[in-house]
Symmetry: C3
Subunit: 158 residues, 3 copies
């Protein structure tokens, strides 16, 4: 039976999302089943930049939507972001080493069959609709997350 | 035999504490045993706002005690806190969705029998006495934490 | 057979590194095998302060090397660092309680046989050579990390 990796993606930062998605891609390459559960800031990573639907949102939800990153490439670094200068430098350094970008690891994970789940409660609080996220996302509550995670061989909170 | 969840609560931020306590409450609801080990900033979550005992504290311990959050509702957000404006907005959004507050999830966890442990070394360094914390807290050292965590079905560092 | 603990050290902060190394030391004391995999900012903890080799580095790599902490004692706190004042205060409080420093826990972990691994991709992107790190470090890729972690009894992302 295949081993299982479960990642709770809570943070919405470029470097942490990169770490999580590199692990998810690598795990799939060695035949490990991967579930990623996106909660709170982590949901920003799954936002579809072309589909930010403001209709039906409350004032706070609109403000929140406008102030948070729209999709993977807008995420800041967790350190030394310096209003984006540090991140630009990091991207240059990745480029110099021909390392793929976050968006490439995200599409790799989508192609390789990583299971993407969005936290129901976070989506309700932040006013994020399912159709604002990439289509693979399944909406799941904390109980479903726990049931999956408890059966996994390893769990990370990132 | 019941499954076991072990959470090392290191961070002292409202959103991360919310995530941890939602998981702890949900786990108890499906019959999973839960140990939460509070270390460093995580201890701020367990402070009893009505009992900040300054007697016997050194100068630094007093300063530290005054500068750190006193209880769950004082914790800042990990992102977009904006001196409390972002947090107030998040609380409004939670309210609009009739989501319970952090303090509600904390009292839920206390009622449902989550095991609360405080890190001995952190308490010594920060000068926090057992009677400054909620009464359920058991003081535990790193070895006791590890022995509990190694027997658990899943462990998270939050 | 000995139990196994695997820590992915992603953060480069004094307090988080302290937590990780206290766990690693304690685990070794009770006969638990420990692998620590250092990625991204976590690599700063392993830098040898006496051997920062700028030769062969690109402009960005030099800048990055100069801007990031050189070794354990230069790491900032994750909160309340206040340009180092908060950290100095924390160090005083540790001293008042005769608690060892980060550097002591690091050398303890080295003596007790904790396995130190450096993330290959992070080292390439950040332009860090093996000889800039403490000599115990083995360079490892994400697949080797996962294979080790999946066999462990507990895994933490710090």
């Amino acid at each position: 039976m295949a081993k299982k990796l479960n990642i709770l993606m809570f943070s919405g930062e470029y470097d942490k999302a990169l770490a999580a998605l590199i692990l998810a891609n690598t795990a799939r390459q060695i035949g490990v089943d991967v579930t990623m559960f996106f909660a709170f800031w982590g949901l920003c990573l799954l936002r579809n930049p072309d589909n930010t639907d403001m209709e039906g949102k409350s004032f706070y939800e609109k403000l929140f939507s406008a102030m948070t990153p729209k999709g993977p490439e807008e995420l800041p670094l967790s350190k030394m972001n310096f209003s984006g200068i540090g991140k630009a430098m990091m991207l240059e350094m990745m480029d110099d080493n021909e390392a793929p970008k976050l968006i490439d690891f995200l599409s790799g994970a989508r192609k390789k069959g990583v299971k993407f789940c969005g936290c129901k409660l976070s989506m309700e609080i932040m006013g994020i609709d399912k159709d604002e996220l990439i289509p693979e996302v399944e909406v799941m509550d904390a109980q479903q997350y726990l049931e999956d995670a408890l059966e996994a061989d390893m769990q990370l909170f990132i």
